[in-house]
Every structure is written in structure tokens, then in C-alpha cells.
Amino acid sequence: MTKQSATLHMGRMPRLDELFKLFNAGKHLNRVAEPALWAELEQEQEQYQTLFSSLGYQLRVDARGFAWFHFDSANSTVNSTTRQLALLLMLLFELKADQGLHLGRFCDWILDRELLTTLLDRSHDLLQAEGLDEQSLAGLLDRACNYGFAELGRGGWQLLPAVWRYLDHFEALAIEQLDDDDVENGVQLIEPAEDEGEES
């Protein structure tokens, strides 16, 4: 463990307990959902990051208004849930794009049962392949609330800024796969020369 040379002023972190409990439960902290806690974190961000780092946690704070404990691996249940949530979000964003809505304003959308039914009608095959029906989609959104990706309000669920993590990943993955395709297209021209190299 590296030695922390910084001084930690515990007196300046009065809500440390609450913040740690929140992050340790796997939840994302969103500015719009918990403004007081967010203000506390923002004020002493460096202190919190140092403290959590010395405890072995990687606290990441995004300027778009959300923070989380970052992990590079998880158990199979979490892997499955995160994939299903990715699918649900992609289908939702595609629907909204088709309706002409601006995708960056996703925090304003209200997701109700009617919307879930629409998604099921549009993408029945994809959702059925994952064993998702209306009930399980609702359950998935409830779980998203537990982890700080959405909150339940009047009329339905609303997405929180932490969803940007998924959107960033979609963009990165699409670019990576498109780049791979480009490389493959070019391979047919290059490989005959490489074959000669292999022979020698």
C-alpha cells in the first residue's frame, strides 16, 4: 500500500458515513437526486478520494454530476444485470430517437408501463431472447434505482445522469467495432505481402 503523505481532516467530512454506505452498496451518487450529499462530496473531493483510496476503493467523480466506486470486475449476477440494462437503455434511446427527441435530455423522460409495452412490441425478439417481459423490465428498472441509474417518481421512472456511463461505453464500443471492421476490410490487400513474410 502506498504511504499517504497528505493529511486527512476528518472534521471536514461530517457525512463520511452516509457517503461510504451509499457507495459501498454499489450505488451511484447523482447531483440531481442527492444535492446535499453531492455538495459535501464536491467540497472535499480530494479528501474523500484520498481516504477511500487508502481503504482500497477507487472513487470516480464525473463532471456531469455523478460519482461511484469503480470496479473492473464483478460476479455473474451483476454482469447479467448490467448487460440487460444496457439492452433496455439502447432500445429506449432508439425509440426516443425515432420519435425525434433529443437524446441528451434523457433525464426529462418519464418511463411508464405504457412505454415498456411499446418497447416490447417493437423489439419483441431481442427482449424475448433475454427472457425479458414487461414485468422483468419493470424489475430491471427498480434495480436500476437501487444502483443510482434511475429513480422512481410519480408517473414512472426517471433516468439519472449516471446513465452517461452506459452511453459513453456504447460510443466507445461502436467505434472499436467499426474500427475492427475497417481493419478487416483492409486486410485483404495487406495479407498477401504478410504471407510472403511468413514464408521467409
Binding site: T82, A97, G100, L103, A129, D195
Partner: protein, 413 residues
Amino acid sequence: MVNPRSLVQTLYLHWQVVEWLTQRSREVPVFEQAQVLAIMGKVDASKTLDEREAALRALINAEILLLLPRDNLLQLNGHVVEFVRGLTREHELGLSAVLQARVQGVREATGRLNVALEQRDLDALRQASALLADLFRQISLQLDQDRHAILEIAEKAKSNDSQMSASRRYRQVLQAYDEYVEPMAAMMDSGPTGTFYRYLEEAERSLDFSHDILTAQGALYTLRQLVRQAAFQAKELRKLGREVLKQSSDTLLPLREELRQHNTLSANISFLLGQVRKRGLVRTFRPAGLPLWKVDRPKRVTVGDEIRTIMSQAQNFSVISTVFPEEAPAVSVDELQLVDGAELRQRLANCLPVPSLLDWLRAEYTHLNDATLLRLYHELIGQPDWQIGQSDQRHSTELNQLNVIHYPHGIYP
């Protein structure tokens, strides 16, 4: 004609290569041998050139790849292309005319079925039912393939560069809509051009009627089963047609009407959804990169019942007064005697050898008390500077108040 089993086995052994070639065949109908070898190298870089050439020969021998006579070019076997495209959802959009022709075929087959019924010709009835079942299966397959092809067209349009102009991006979409969706909608309309449902309904009615007649008259079980199955397929096909038309319109209409909010994010999402549709969710999204979390269950700490005992003892605590012991008198200064250590050592060195140190000390320092004498004795015999020997004879030395019986230590030069 190649043995089907060996074709299928070779397909299994070289599936990835064939899948790649099938994808490429949409742009390039024929391949050079070098291109095929390059694709094999891309699929499995560990294969040597000899192994790749052997694989190529295997594909040619199994007639998965056909050697064209004139240019020595290679083309994929049509059956293999259809099969692989069917499994990997890489269809081309079928012609609506083909669909219409098949639907017309349903009408003709229904006519033959009715004639066979009137003439009580069971053989002709069997043939007509089998033909209807086959047509339904083909139409169902085509509708499913076309649905995927339309989704692919839409995904390509949506995932195209957002800088491209809308008309260029959606050219294929507009084409698909005009050449496929609109004719299909007309065919499935309830108006005079709406042949799809009408012919299917007639076929279904004829099949149901045939089944009733066969059940009443008595006929072979297999024939009745064939007729019943064909009727069931007709019902399913009506439902499928409705679904496919709705899905195709819903997919293409927003694009056609240019309602879509198109930007890089929506393009990327459409591209990824296409990947999920073809490859599945697990293959498209590896866990790395996706948001992950860990939930640490809080550890509960409880106390045992012993705490209750301690609490009751604390509650019933009563003060117990303890008497401190009397203060012992301090050691008086008189009892501490000053000894000139240097002088003592000098005197001792001058008197060597000393067979009994304690006797010598008693004799030389009569003014010292017993405690001091004994202390000096122990200090001196502990010092490494002297050559000390101990007698094995017991000896008694009389001090002021004590009589010490000991094995005396002596100091020798």
C-alpha cells in the same frame, strides 16, 4: 454431386471462414484464392500457409467453394450461402413480387384442393395439402428473412455517418419502403388489392372443411394430420404477415419521414443493436467496460449475554472502601554507607591472593554493616576484572549480625 454429410462436416470444421465469406459475398460475388487465404489468416492467425491451403482444398472438394471454369475464381455454393445467411440473419431483402407470386400460388393450390374434395380424390387432396403447407412455409420463411433485412437496412441507415446528408443516408430506406413495404401493405390491405388475407382465409376454410370431411368419412391418420397442420400454418401465417408489415412500417416510417433525431450517439446505438440482433447480447457486450458494482453486505456485530451480567453488576455497584497500608518508614540515610570503590579495589589488589573475599572484607572494613558487606561481595565477584575461584569447602563467616555459611569465593592474582 458431393456427399451432403461431408459438405455439412466441412462446413462445421470451417464455419468461421464460411461465415466471413458469406458476409463478403454481398459486395464481392467471386473471390480470388489469395483473398480466401487472407480471410483464413484473419480468422486464425496461428494457421500456417500450408494449413490454410489444405483448408481451401477441403472447401473446394466439399463443393462449399466452387471453382469457376474460366478465371480460376471461387464462388460460394448457392445452397451454402442461403443456409449461412439464414442462420446469421444476413439476408437481402426479397422482392415483393416473389411474395405476391407465392400468395397467388396459394390461391391456385386452394383451387386444386377444392376440386380434389369434390371428386373425392384423396391422392390429389394429399398433393394439394402438401403444396399448400410448402407454400406457407416458404412465405413464412421469406417474411422472416425480409423482416431481418429491413431491420438491417434501417440499422445501416441509422448508423451511417451523421454528417452525411439525410437523402443519401436513407436512400436504401426509401427504396425498401417504396419497393417492398408499400406493395406489401397493398397486398395485405382489406381492399380489392388485398390478396394476402383473402387467399389465406380461403385456403384455411378449404383445409378446415377437408379435415371435417376426412374425419367424418374416415381417412388415413397421416392425411388428416397433414391437412390439420396446413390449416394451422395458414392461421399462423396471417398473424405473421400482420406483424411483419407493422414492424417493417414502424422501422422504416420514421426514417422515411425524417423524423429521426440522428447524431453520433443514436448512430452508435443503432449499430450496436444490429450487432445484438445478429450475435446476441453476451457476444456483443463483454463485461469489461460496462458499468459494474459490488455490494458489500454490512457486517453485523452483536454482543452476548455476558454483557447483561456486566450491566447488572454496574447497576448494583456499591462503593467498597479500601484501607491503604501504613506508610513504611523511609530508609534512613545512616543505613546507606559510602564506600570508596577505587580505594577498596587498590587495597584488594595489594592483598592478593585472598582465599575468602567475604572474610577479607569483614576484616578490612569492620565499620561497614552486613548489608553493605554482602553487596560489595556480590559486586566484586561479578566483575570480570578479577581472577575468581570458588572453594568447595563450606565455610562460615561471622558478620555483625549475621552468620553466613557459604562456599567462599577467593580472588587470586
